[in-house]
């Protein structure tokens, strides 16, 4: 089954107003282009789930797409603040459901594994459970490690996004998604969701994927749509394809600090482009892609082996 489609169709089909949308990719392979298309299609009232809500989340908030953010680190990487997110949280006009990196990971794990809760050794003594009533305690049914009192640990509830959108280096048409470099939390976020969209740098032949099945981070059975979108993770990076645009991360602190400048940026780069191809062409003009181009560092090939005889060994 061929699941390839356009970004526009994938967003129209899988992201409805009011939906819970997970956008995952930890620093690497952030699905920015998908976020931009959500802005272009003027979705409203979304709950955005993202371990590290960053630039694309800030842009979606500024474009009035977002009612609520679920996350663990709401910063512009180490390059300053997310201006719009800060303004709205400080003004009390954006709902924030906050835990921690591992808390988010465990929420995806619980979602993917259809568990009512997932235990972790965080939060004891933290103020986070006070502001997030989802962080609760469970008492172990086993004696403590010293044979004494049973331990109690915090647990987090599952998250089940309506759709998870990830970016990846490549996929086949059926939706077998291959990722290398940082693989983050993408597989768990996909399995936790009702639907999943994979945006990829390249759609490749089945034979490419099947030559290296261990490279498949998400199998086709968990993917609903495949969208080819080169440079779709900018300003984040795609290992082996293009580098991170650190200069843009630094610039975002300034752009987002000023609501007018932020609005103008959105008008020019997102609402003013028809699709990501236009955005890419626009950035090409100032040499972005030359600046972010990378050289080659091949992985080398391993051998999966092939049975030589007809009969079983």
């Amino acid at each position: 089954m061929d699941k390839t489609t356009t970004m526009s169709e994938a967003i129209a089909r899988y992201v409805a107003d009011g939906a819970t949308v997970a956008l995952e990719g930890f620093t690497h392979l952030i699905p920015t282009a998908a976020g931009h298309e959500i802005i272009r299609q003027r979705r409203r009232g979304l709950t955005v789930v993202r371990m590290t809500p960053d630039i694309v989340t800030d842009q979606m908030i500024a474009a009035d797409c977002v009612a609520k953010v679920v996350g663990a680190f709401v910063g512009n990487s180490s390059a300053g603040s997310l201006g719009e997110l800060r303004r709205r949280v400080e003004a009390g006009t954006l709902e924030l459901e906050e835990c921690s990196h591992y808390g988010m990971i465990c929420r995806y794990l619980a979602g993917a594994q259809r568990l009512p809760f997932y235990p972790l050794r965080s939060y004891a003594g933290s103020d986070l459970p006070r502001v997030n009533p989802g962080l609760r305690k469970v008492v172990s049914p086993y004696p403590g490690p010293d044979g004494g009192e049973p331990e109690q640990v915090y647990v987090v509830p599952p998250v089940h996004p309506d759709v998870t959108i990830i970016h990846a280096q490549r996929a086949d048409r059926r939706g077998n998604v291959q990722i290398w470099g940082l693989t983050g939390i993408q597989a768990e976020a996909v399995y936790a969701a009702r639907h999943a969209v994979a945006v990829v740098e390249e759609v490749v032949d089945d034979a490419v994927v099947r030559a290296d099945p261990n490279r498949t981070a998400v199998p086709a059975h968990a993917i609903d749509a495949v969208v080819a979108c080169p440079h779709g993770a900018h300003p984040s990076f795609a290992q082996g394809y293009y580098d991170r645009d650190n200069a843009f991360y630094r610039r975002w602190a300034g752009i987002s600090k000023d609501p007018e400048r932020l609005k103008a940026w959105l008008e020019e780069y997102v609402l003013g482009t028809r699709d990501h191809a236009e955005y890419v062409a626009k950035l090409a003009a100032d040499g972005t892609w030359d600046r972010l181009a990378v050289g080659s560092a091949p992985s080398g090939s391993i051998d999966y082996g092939r049975r030589l005889r007809k009969e079983h060994p």
């Binding site: 259809r114 399995y191 059975h221 999966y304």
Partner: protein, 271 residues
């Protein structure tokens, strides 16, 4: 009974010159039950044949997932185990077992799974652990493996039993390895699926819709030449018989040709 599938429409009459073996019958009957399914969790042997046949007939695009972690296998040879090297080379994905069991199986992505067992009871509870008491068994069997999680998490379960006899179809299990949903709910569980909905044996087909509490397996079809009484005599409990008892359609020429020529030409599992 609405879910008892007819053979594919294009099926011609049986090739009486070379009649179907019991294995071929079981494989063909099981394959028809897979119509409309998308994700199958299967072991090796007859289930492999049934799934391969279904993929070529009633359920194109059907995907087998193996508990070893293989998804989308394209084997060069008929696999001998669920972890056969030929399942890995050329596969679409190989998942770590924690992901396979956690995300795919417990995650609720399996429509139907095949299980075997040494004993089955009227509710489709299964024993694959011991004959006799667990503490000092007369026969120690391999045990659950993944069967208890398959039963708890697959949408429904098909059981293929090559030999229908009272030692296997018992009133009381010696040990319940893999409980059906009734037993699970009585213990506070919330099973995802409907438990065993089909038991395909050398004599016929037992069915449960799997949507009511206390629902028993019922004889819904007998193979050609088999009577309901013979099946009841081979069953260790007072087996219910459907009012509209069907006779299974034997394998069609197309089904036999696919099994014999394309799927298992060396008759590894068609023994």
């Amino acid at each position: 009974m609405d879910r008892l599938r007819p053979p594919p429409a294009e099926g011609a009459p049986v090739n009486t010159a070379n009649p179907a073996t019991s294995s071929e019958l079981l494989a063909a009957v099981a394959s028809r039950e897979l119509a409309g399914m998308r994700m199958v969790f299967a072991g090796i042997g007859l289930p492999t044949l049934a799934v391969s046949l279904a993929d070529l007939t009633v359920a194109p695009g059907l995907e087998i997932v193996y508990e070893s972690g293989v998804c989308g296998a394209h084997p060069s040879h008929l696999p001998e185990t669920i972890a056969d090297a030929v399942l890995i080379t050329g596969a679409e994905a190989v998942l770590p077992m924690a992901s396979l069991f956690g995300y795919v199986l417990q995650g609720g992505r399996i429509d139907v799974a095949f299980l075997g067992a040494a004993q089955i009871d009227r509710y489709g509870n299964l024993n694959s652990s011991v004959i006799g008491p667990w503490e000092r068994p007369a026969v120690r069997l391999p045990g659950s493996g993944g069967a208890v999680e398959v039963m708890a998490n697959a949408g429904e379960v098909f059981v293929v039993m090559r030999r229908h006899d009272p030692r296997s179809f018992v009133a009381e299990l010696d040990f319940c390895t893999s409980p059906g949903p009734d037993r699970a709910r009585a213990d506070g569980g919330r099973p995802r699926g409907r438990g065993v909905t089909r038991v395909i044996t050398d004599l016929g087909i037992l069915s449960r819709a799997g949507d009511g509490a206390g629902e028993e397996l019922t004889l819904t079809a007998v193979h050609p030449g088999v009577t309901a009484e013979r099946v009841r005599a081979a069953t260790g409990w007072d087996l219910k018989v459907a009012d509209a008892l069907a006779t299974t359609a034997p394998p069609t020429d197309q089904e036999l040709r696919l099994l014999r020529e394309d799927i298992d030409p060396d008759r590894v599992y068609l023994r």
